[in-house]
Symmetry: C2
Subunit: 234 residues, 2 copies
Protein backbone atom coordinates (compact mmCIF):
# COMPACT_ATOMS: atom_id res chain seq x y z
CA UNK A 1 0.00 0.00 0.00
CA UNK A 2 1.43 3.32 -1.05
CA UNK A 3 0.98 6.04 1.51
CA UNK A 4 0.56 9.25 -0.49
CA UNK A 5 2.36 11.25 2.12
CA UNK A 6 2.24 14.59 0.36
CA UNK A 7 -1.52 14.60 0.30
CA UNK A 8 -2.19 13.72 3.92
CA UNK A 9 -3.63 16.57 5.98
CA UNK A 10 -5.32 14.93 8.94
CA UNK A 11 -4.10 11.94 10.93
CA UNK A 12 -6.66 10.08 13.02
CA UNK A 13 -5.46 8.02 15.96
CA UNK A 14 -7.51 5.29 17.51
CA UNK A 15 -7.30 5.78 21.29
CA UNK A 16 -7.55 2.53 23.25
CA UNK A 17 -4.55 0.23 22.73
CA UNK A 18 -3.10 2.64 20.16
CA UNK A 19 -2.29 5.63 22.37
CA UNK A 20 -2.67 3.96 25.75
CA UNK A 21 -3.23 0.60 27.41
CA UNK A 22 -6.89 -0.39 27.53
CA UNK A 23 -7.71 -3.98 26.62
CA UNK A 24 -5.47 -5.13 29.48
CA UNK A 25 -7.72 -3.27 31.94
CA UNK A 26 -10.84 -4.78 30.39
CA UNK A 27 -9.33 -8.23 30.64
CA UNK A 28 -8.40 -7.62 34.28
CA UNK A 29 -11.95 -6.45 34.93
CA UNK A 30 -13.30 -9.54 33.22
CA UNK A 31 -11.13 -11.73 35.46
CA UNK A 32 -12.47 -10.00 38.55
CA UNK A 33 -15.98 -10.41 37.19
CA UNK A 34 -15.45 -14.15 36.65
CA UNK A 35 -14.16 -14.36 40.20
CA UNK A 36 -17.30 -12.71 41.57
CA UNK A 37 -19.31 -15.42 39.81
CA UNK A 38 -17.06 -18.38 40.60
CA UNK A 39 -19.62 -20.16 42.81
CA UNK A 40 -22.02 -20.30 39.85
CA UNK A 41 -19.93 -21.10 36.78
CA UNK A 42 -16.37 -21.59 35.56
CA UNK A 43 -14.42 -18.51 34.42
CA UNK A 44 -14.60 -19.80 30.83
CA UNK A 45 -18.40 -19.96 30.94
CA UNK A 46 -18.65 -16.54 32.55
CA UNK A 47 -16.40 -15.04 29.85
CA UNK A 48 -18.33 -16.73 27.07
CA UNK A 49 -21.67 -15.50 28.45
CA UNK A 50 -20.29 -11.99 28.85
CA UNK A 51 -19.18 -11.92 25.24
CA UNK A 52 -22.61 -13.11 24.11
CA UNK A 53 -24.32 -10.40 26.16
CA UNK A 54 -21.95 -7.69 24.88
CA UNK A 55 -22.57 -8.72 21.28
CA UNK A 56 -26.34 -8.81 21.80
CA UNK A 57 -26.29 -5.40 23.49
CA UNK A 58 -24.11 -3.64 20.91
CA UNK A 59 -27.06 -2.27 18.88
CA UNK A 60 -28.59 -0.91 22.10
CA UNK A 61 -25.63 0.35 24.06
CA UNK A 62 -22.77 0.72 21.59
CA UNK A 63 -19.17 0.75 22.88
CA UNK A 64 -17.39 2.01 25.96
CA UNK A 65 -17.24 1.64 29.69
CA UNK A 66 -20.96 2.21 30.46
CA UNK A 67 -22.05 -0.34 27.85
CA UNK A 68 -19.54 -2.78 29.37
CA UNK A 69 -20.90 -2.20 32.88
CA UNK A 70 -24.50 -2.78 31.81
CA UNK A 71 -23.46 -6.00 30.08
CA UNK A 72 -21.57 -7.20 33.17
CA UNK A 73 -24.71 -6.75 35.27
CA UNK A 74 -26.99 -8.43 32.77
CA UNK A 75 -24.63 -11.39 32.39
CA UNK A 76 -24.31 -11.82 36.15
CA UNK A 77 -28.07 -11.92 36.56
CA UNK A 78 -28.47 -14.50 33.82
CA UNK A 79 -25.66 -16.70 35.16
CA UNK A 80 -26.98 -16.62 38.74
CA UNK A 81 -30.47 -17.53 37.45
CA UNK A 82 -31.76 -14.27 38.95
CA UNK A 83 -30.44 -15.15 42.40
CA UNK A 84 -27.37 -12.98 42.60
CA UNK A 85 -26.98 -11.40 46.05
CA UNK A 86 -26.85 -7.64 45.90
CA UNK A 87 -23.41 -7.40 47.42
CA UNK A 88 -22.18 -9.06 44.23
CA UNK A 89 -23.98 -6.45 42.14
CA UNK A 90 -22.16 -3.82 44.15
CA UNK A 91 -18.86 -5.59 43.57
CA UNK A 92 -19.54 -5.51 39.83
CA UNK A 93 -20.42 -1.79 39.84
CA UNK A 94 -17.23 -1.19 41.84
CA UNK A 95 -15.13 -3.04 39.24
CA UNK A 96 -16.47 -0.66 36.59
CA UNK A 97 -15.95 2.51 38.62
CA UNK A 98 -12.40 1.39 39.39
CA UNK A 99 -11.73 1.12 35.66
CA UNK A 100 -12.83 4.74 35.22
CA UNK A 101 -10.36 5.81 37.89
CA UNK A 102 -7.41 3.85 36.46
CA UNK A 103 -4.26 5.79 35.63
CA UNK A 104 -3.54 6.26 31.94
CA UNK A 105 -0.51 4.36 30.73
CA UNK A 106 0.72 5.77 27.43
CA UNK A 107 2.23 3.27 25.04
CA UNK A 108 5.95 3.57 24.38
CA UNK A 109 6.92 6.32 21.94
CA UNK A 110 3.46 7.87 21.62
CA UNK A 111 4.28 11.35 22.86
CA UNK A 112 7.49 11.67 20.79
CA UNK A 113 5.64 10.67 17.65
CA UNK A 114 2.71 13.04 18.26
CA UNK A 115 5.20 15.86 18.83
CA UNK A 116 6.99 15.11 15.55
CA UNK A 117 3.80 14.81 13.50
CA UNK A 118 2.32 17.99 14.91
CA UNK A 119 5.55 19.87 14.27
CA UNK A 120 5.53 18.54 10.71
CA UNK A 121 2.18 20.30 10.20
CA UNK A 122 -0.34 17.47 10.33
CA UNK A 123 -3.63 18.04 12.09
CA UNK A 124 -4.09 15.26 14.62
CA UNK A 125 -7.40 13.95 15.92
CA UNK A 126 -8.49 11.07 18.13
CA UNK A 127 -11.07 8.85 16.38
CA UNK A 128 -12.58 6.39 18.84
CA UNK A 129 -15.66 4.33 19.60
CA UNK A 130 -15.68 4.68 23.40
CA UNK A 131 -17.55 7.06 25.70
CA UNK A 132 -16.63 10.69 25.08
CA UNK A 133 -16.38 11.52 28.78
CA UNK A 134 -14.13 8.54 29.46
CA UNK A 135 -11.87 9.28 26.50
CA UNK A 136 -11.64 12.99 27.38
CA UNK A 137 -10.71 12.05 30.91
CA UNK A 138 -7.97 9.72 29.67
CA UNK A 139 -6.66 12.37 27.30
CA UNK A 140 -6.47 14.93 30.11
CA UNK A 141 -4.76 12.49 32.47
CA UNK A 142 -2.31 11.42 29.79
CA UNK A 143 -0.86 14.89 29.20
CA UNK A 144 -1.08 14.51 25.40
CA UNK A 145 -4.28 16.51 24.95
CA UNK A 146 -2.32 19.46 23.54
CA UNK A 147 -1.34 17.55 20.42
CA UNK A 148 -4.92 16.91 19.29
CA UNK A 149 -7.32 19.18 17.50
CA UNK A 150 -10.31 17.30 18.91
CA UNK A 151 -11.79 13.93 19.80
CA UNK A 152 -14.08 12.37 17.27
CA UNK A 153 -16.50 9.86 18.78
CA UNK A 154 -17.76 7.29 16.29
CA UNK A 155 -20.79 5.10 17.05
CA UNK A 156 -19.10 2.38 15.04
CA UNK A 157 -16.05 2.10 12.79
CA UNK A 158 -17.51 0.74 9.60
CA UNK A 159 -17.06 2.21 6.15
CA UNK A 160 -20.19 4.39 6.38
CA UNK A 161 -19.00 5.82 9.70
CA UNK A 162 -15.66 6.82 8.17
CA UNK A 163 -17.55 8.33 5.24
CA UNK A 164 -19.44 10.54 7.68
CA UNK A 165 -16.19 11.42 9.42
CA UNK A 166 -14.46 12.49 6.20
CA UNK A 167 -17.51 14.50 5.19
CA UNK A 168 -17.48 16.19 8.57
CA UNK A 169 -13.74 16.88 8.34
CA UNK A 170 -14.27 18.26 4.83
CA UNK A 171 -11.42 16.23 3.31
CA UNK A 172 -10.99 13.65 0.59
CA UNK A 173 -10.08 10.07 1.60
CA UNK A 174 -6.50 10.44 0.27
CA UNK A 175 -5.98 13.35 2.66
CA UNK A 176 -6.73 11.15 5.67
CA UNK A 177 -4.44 8.70 7.45
CA UNK A 178 -5.82 6.44 10.19
CA UNK A 179 -3.52 4.80 12.72
CA UNK A 180 -4.76 2.04 14.99
CA UNK A 181 -4.39 -1.41 16.46
CA UNK A 182 -7.56 -2.97 15.07
CA UNK A 183 -7.38 -4.21 11.49
CA UNK A 184 -11.15 -4.60 11.42
CA UNK A 185 -12.03 -1.16 12.82
CA UNK A 186 -9.10 1.12 12.05
CA UNK A 187 -7.59 -0.21 8.83
CA UNK A 188 -9.85 -2.09 6.41
CA UNK A 189 -12.78 0.36 6.23
CA UNK A 190 -10.44 3.32 5.66
CA UNK A 191 -8.53 1.53 2.90
CA UNK A 192 -11.76 0.42 1.23
CA UNK A 193 -12.80 4.08 1.09
CA UNK A 194 -9.57 5.06 -0.62
CA UNK A 195 -7.91 6.50 2.47
CA UNK A 196 -4.59 5.68 4.11
CA UNK A 197 -4.10 3.47 7.17
CA UNK A 198 -1.21 2.11 9.18
CA UNK A 199 -1.67 -0.83 11.51
CA UNK A 200 0.16 -0.76 14.85
CA UNK A 201 -0.69 -4.06 16.58
CA UNK A 202 -1.25 -4.23 20.32
CA UNK A 203 -0.31 -7.48 22.03
CA UNK A 204 -3.91 -8.44 22.69
CA UNK A 205 -7.20 -7.83 20.86
CA UNK A 206 -10.83 -8.04 22.00
CA UNK A 207 -12.57 -11.03 20.35
CA UNK A 208 -15.11 -8.70 18.75
CA UNK A 209 -12.31 -6.90 16.88
CA UNK A 210 -10.67 -9.99 15.44
CA UNK A 211 -10.78 -10.65 11.72
CA UNK A 212 -10.16 -13.99 10.10
CA UNK A 213 -8.30 -13.29 6.93
CA UNK A 214 -6.77 -10.05 5.76
CA UNK A 215 -4.64 -11.45 2.92
CA UNK A 216 -6.89 -9.83 0.34
CA UNK A 217 -5.95 -6.42 1.70
CA UNK A 218 -2.67 -4.73 1.24
CA UNK A 219 -1.88 -2.47 4.14
CA UNK A 220 1.15 -1.28 6.02
CA UNK A 221 1.88 -2.72 9.46
CA UNK A 222 4.57 -1.33 11.73
CA UNK A 223 5.90 -2.90 14.90
CA UNK A 224 5.82 0.25 16.97
CA UNK A 225 4.28 3.68 16.64
CA UNK A 226 7.86 5.04 16.59
CA UNK A 227 8.12 3.95 12.96
CA UNK A 228 5.24 6.16 11.76
CA UNK A 229 7.30 9.31 11.03
CA UNK A 230 9.70 7.20 8.93
CA UNK A 231 6.82 5.78 6.91
CA UNK A 232 5.62 9.32 6.22
CA UNK A 233 9.11 10.61 5.38
CA UNK A 234 10.46 7.55 3.64
Amino acid sequence: MMILKNEIKIIGFDADDTLWVNETYYQDAEKQFCNVLKEYVSPETASRELFKTETRNLPYYGYGIKAFTLSLLETAMTISKQELPQDKIHEILAIAKTMIDKPVELLEGVEDVLQQLKTAGYRLIVATKGDLLDQERKLEKSGIEKYFHHIEIMSDKQERNYEKLLNHLDIAPVEFLMIGNSVKSDILPVITLGGNAIHVPFHTTWAHEQVEDTRAYNFKTVETIRQIPDVLNG
Copy 2:
Protein backbone atom coordinates in the same frame (compact mmCIF):
# COMPACT_ATOMS: atom_id res chain seq x y z
CA MET B 1 -28.99 40.66 22.28
CA MET B 2 -28.15 41.55 18.70
CA ILE B 3 -27.87 38.54 16.43
CA LEU B 4 -25.21 39.44 13.85
CA LYS B 5 -26.97 37.50 11.18
CA ASN B 6 -24.59 38.27 8.36
CA GLU B 7 -21.69 36.68 10.16
CA ILE B 8 -23.32 33.40 11.16
CA LYS B 9 -21.96 30.38 9.31
CA ILE B 10 -22.81 27.40 11.49
CA ILE B 11 -26.00 26.82 13.46
CA GLY B 12 -25.86 24.27 16.27
CA PHE B 13 -29.07 22.63 17.41
CA ASP B 14 -29.46 20.99 20.75
CA ALA B 15 -31.23 17.66 20.13
CA ASP B 16 -33.40 16.52 23.05
CA ASP B 17 -36.42 18.77 23.61
CA THR B 18 -35.24 21.13 20.89
CA LEU B 19 -35.62 18.91 17.82
CA TRP B 20 -37.71 16.14 19.39
CA VAL B 21 -39.52 15.16 22.57
CA ASN B 22 -37.21 13.69 25.19
CA GLU B 23 -37.71 14.89 28.76
CA THR B 24 -41.30 13.61 28.64
CA TYR B 25 -39.96 10.08 28.03
CA TYR B 26 -37.49 10.42 30.90
CA GLN B 27 -40.27 11.58 33.18
CA ASP B 28 -42.45 8.65 32.13
CA ALA B 29 -39.55 6.30 32.79
CA GLU B 30 -39.04 7.89 36.19
CA LYS B 31 -42.73 7.34 37.04
CA GLN B 32 -42.44 3.67 36.07
CA PHE B 33 -39.28 3.44 38.16
CA CYS B 34 -41.05 4.94 41.18
CA ASN B 35 -43.83 2.43 40.66
CA VAL B 36 -41.37 -0.48 40.69
CA LEU B 37 -40.17 0.77 44.09
CA LYS B 38 -43.54 1.67 45.58
CA GLU B 39 -43.44 -0.98 48.30
CA TYR B 40 -40.24 0.59 49.66
CA VAL B 41 -40.71 4.36 49.45
CA SER B 42 -43.05 7.08 48.18
CA PRO B 43 -42.66 8.28 44.56
CA GLU B 44 -41.34 11.61 45.87
CA THR B 45 -38.58 9.91 47.85
CA ALA B 46 -37.67 7.65 44.92
CA SER B 47 -37.44 10.67 42.58
CA ARG B 48 -35.35 12.63 45.06
CA GLU B 49 -32.95 9.71 45.58
CA LEU B 50 -32.65 9.21 41.83
CA PHE B 51 -31.75 12.84 41.32
CA LYS B 52 -29.09 12.60 44.04
CA THR B 53 -27.60 9.49 42.43
CA GLU B 54 -27.61 11.07 38.95
CA THR B 55 -25.87 14.18 40.23
CA ARG B 56 -23.29 12.11 42.11
CA ASN B 57 -22.66 9.91 39.07
CA LEU B 58 -22.33 12.74 36.53
CA PRO B 59 -18.51 12.96 36.79
CA TYR B 60 -18.30 9.18 36.25
CA TYR B 61 -20.96 8.48 33.67
CA GLY B 62 -21.78 11.80 32.02
CA TYR B 63 -25.12 12.20 30.24
CA GLY B 64 -27.41 10.00 28.20
CA ILE B 65 -29.49 6.88 28.38
CA LYS B 66 -26.79 4.49 29.65
CA ALA B 67 -25.80 6.84 32.46
CA PHE B 68 -29.49 7.12 33.37
CA THR B 69 -29.89 3.32 33.43
CA LEU B 70 -26.88 2.83 35.69
CA SER B 71 -28.23 5.49 38.06
CA LEU B 72 -31.67 3.85 38.14
CA LEU B 73 -30.09 0.55 39.18
CA GLU B 74 -27.88 2.13 41.82
CA THR B 75 -30.78 4.11 43.30
CA ALA B 76 -33.03 1.04 43.42
CA MET B 77 -30.40 -0.92 45.31
CA THR B 78 -29.90 1.87 47.83
CA ILE B 79 -33.64 2.36 48.37
CA SER B 80 -34.31 -1.36 48.85
CA LYS B 81 -31.44 -1.54 51.35
CA GLN B 82 -29.80 -4.10 49.08
CA GLU B 83 -32.81 -6.38 49.13
CA LEU B 84 -34.30 -5.67 45.73
CA PRO B 85 -35.59 -8.86 44.09
CA GLN B 86 -33.98 -9.48 40.73
CA ASP B 87 -37.24 -9.36 38.83
CA LYS B 88 -37.35 -5.69 39.78
CA ILE B 89 -33.83 -5.21 38.42
CA HIS B 90 -35.06 -6.74 35.18
CA GLU B 91 -38.06 -4.42 35.17
CA ILE B 92 -35.70 -1.46 35.51
CA LEU B 93 -33.43 -2.65 32.69
CA ALA B 94 -36.56 -3.14 30.55
CA ILE B 95 -37.71 0.45 31.24
CA ALA B 96 -34.39 1.67 29.85
CA LYS B 97 -34.39 -0.56 26.78
CA THR B 98 -37.96 0.53 26.03
CA MET B 99 -36.79 4.15 26.04
CA ILE B 100 -34.18 3.29 23.40
CA ASP B 101 -36.89 1.79 21.21
CA LYS B 102 -39.29 4.74 21.54
CA PRO B 103 -40.45 6.42 18.33
CA VAL B 104 -39.01 9.86 17.65
CA GLU B 105 -41.56 12.63 17.87
CA LEU B 106 -40.31 15.75 16.12
CA LEU B 107 -41.39 19.04 17.63
CA GLU B 108 -43.78 21.17 15.57
CA GLY B 109 -42.14 23.14 12.78
CA VAL B 110 -38.68 21.58 13.11
CA GLU B 111 -38.38 20.11 9.62
CA ASP B 112 -39.68 23.25 7.86
CA VAL B 113 -37.20 25.40 9.70
CA LEU B 114 -34.24 23.10 9.02
CA GLN B 115 -35.17 23.07 5.35
CA GLN B 116 -35.30 26.88 5.22
CA LEU B 117 -32.02 27.37 7.07
CA LYS B 118 -30.17 24.81 4.99
CA THR B 119 -31.51 26.36 1.78
CA ALA B 120 -30.36 29.76 3.06
CA GLY B 121 -26.80 28.39 3.13
CA TYR B 122 -26.18 27.78 6.80
CA ARG B 123 -24.26 24.70 7.86
CA LEU B 124 -26.35 22.88 10.46
CA ILE B 125 -25.01 20.58 13.17
CA VAL B 126 -26.49 18.79 16.16
CA ALA B 127 -24.64 19.67 19.38
CA THR B 128 -25.75 17.39 22.20
CA LYS B 129 -24.66 15.83 25.46
CA GLY B 130 -26.31 12.42 25.10
CA ASP B 131 -24.97 9.08 23.84
CA LEU B 132 -23.81 9.25 20.23
CA LEU B 133 -25.42 5.94 19.28
CA ASP B 134 -28.76 6.94 20.81
CA GLN B 135 -28.74 10.36 19.14
CA GLU B 136 -27.73 8.91 15.75
CA ARG B 137 -30.55 6.41 16.03
CA LYS B 138 -33.04 9.18 16.78
CA LEU B 139 -31.76 11.27 13.89
CA GLU B 140 -32.15 8.34 11.49
CA LYS B 141 -35.65 7.53 12.75
CA SER B 142 -36.68 11.18 12.56
CA GLY B 143 -35.99 11.57 8.85
CA ILE B 144 -34.16 14.89 9.38
CA GLU B 145 -30.63 13.46 9.20
CA LYS B 146 -30.17 14.92 5.69
CA TYR B 147 -30.23 18.49 6.98
CA PHE B 148 -27.23 18.06 9.29
CA HIS B 149 -23.58 18.12 8.51
CA HIS B 150 -22.78 16.01 11.55
CA ILE B 151 -23.54 15.29 15.20
CA GLU B 152 -21.24 16.83 17.73
CA ILE B 153 -21.23 15.00 21.06
CA MET B 154 -20.17 17.18 23.99
CA SER B 155 -19.18 15.66 27.33
CA ASP B 156 -20.70 18.75 28.96
CA LYS B 157 -22.05 22.09 27.78
CA GLN B 158 -19.99 24.55 29.77
CA GLU B 159 -18.03 27.46 28.36
CA ARG B 160 -14.85 25.43 27.95
CA ASN B 161 -16.72 22.73 26.03
CA TYR B 162 -18.08 25.30 23.58
CA GLU B 163 -14.57 26.74 23.27
CA LYS B 164 -13.36 23.31 22.18
CA LEU B 165 -16.29 22.99 19.78
CA LEU B 166 -15.59 26.34 18.10
CA ASN B 167 -11.92 25.47 17.83
CA HIS B 168 -12.83 22.16 16.25
CA LEU B 169 -15.27 23.86 13.82
CA ASP B 170 -12.58 26.42 12.99
CA ILE B 171 -14.88 29.40 13.43
CA ALA B 172 -15.01 32.53 15.56
CA PRO B 173 -17.75 32.80 18.23
CA VAL B 174 -19.67 35.43 16.20
CA GLU B 175 -19.95 32.94 13.35
CA PHE B 176 -21.80 30.46 15.54
CA LEU B 177 -25.46 30.41 16.55
CA MET B 178 -26.71 27.91 19.11
CA ILE B 179 -30.39 27.02 19.38
CA GLY B 180 -31.73 25.08 22.34
CA ASN B 181 -34.23 24.68 25.13
CA SER B 182 -31.81 24.85 28.07
CA VAL B 183 -30.76 28.34 29.16
CA LYS B 184 -28.03 26.84 31.30
CA SER B 185 -26.54 24.51 28.69
CA ASP B 186 -27.40 25.99 25.30
CA ILE B 187 -27.59 29.73 25.83
CA LEU B 188 -25.52 31.25 28.64
CA PRO B 189 -22.13 29.62 27.90
CA VAL B 190 -22.36 30.52 24.21
CA ILE B 191 -23.25 34.15 24.93
CA THR B 192 -20.47 34.44 27.50
CA LEU B 193 -18.02 33.33 24.80
CA GLY B 194 -19.24 36.03 22.43
CA GLY B 195 -21.37 33.74 20.28
CA ASN B 196 -25.05 33.92 19.34
CA ALA B 197 -27.84 31.93 20.96
CA ILE B 198 -31.61 31.71 20.72
CA HIS B 199 -33.66 30.09 23.45
CA VAL B 200 -36.64 27.93 22.42
CA PRO B 201 -38.26 26.76 25.68
CA PHE B 202 -39.70 23.27 26.01
CA HIS B 203 -42.63 22.88 28.38
CA THR B 204 -40.64 20.96 30.95
CA THR B 205 -37.00 21.02 32.04
CA TRP B 206 -34.88 18.48 33.94
CA ALA B 207 -34.04 19.81 37.42
CA HIS B 208 -30.32 19.62 36.65
CA GLU B 209 -30.78 22.08 33.77
CA GLN B 210 -32.67 24.71 35.72
CA VAL B 211 -31.06 28.07 36.44
CA GLU B 212 -32.16 30.45 39.10
CA ASP B 213 -31.84 33.89 37.67
CA THR B 214 -31.02 34.91 34.14
CA ARG B 215 -31.87 38.60 34.43
CA ALA B 216 -28.21 39.54 34.17
CA TYR B 217 -28.10 38.02 30.69
CA ASN B 218 -29.68 39.48 27.65
CA PHE B 219 -30.66 36.80 25.18
CA LYS B 220 -33.36 36.20 22.63
CA THR B 221 -36.19 33.81 23.45
CA VAL B 222 -38.72 32.69 20.86
CA GLU B 223 -41.95 30.83 21.54
CA THR B 224 -41.53 28.31 18.75
CA ILE B 225 -38.71 27.19 16.50
CA ARG B 226 -40.81 28.50 13.58
CA GLN B 227 -39.73 32.05 14.51
CA ILE B 228 -36.01 31.37 14.00
CA PRO B 229 -35.85 32.24 10.27
CA ASP B 230 -37.57 35.56 11.01
CA VAL B 231 -35.03 36.38 13.71
CA LEU B 232 -32.26 35.71 11.19
CA ASN B 233 -33.92 37.68 8.41
CA GLY B 234 -35.39 40.47 10.50
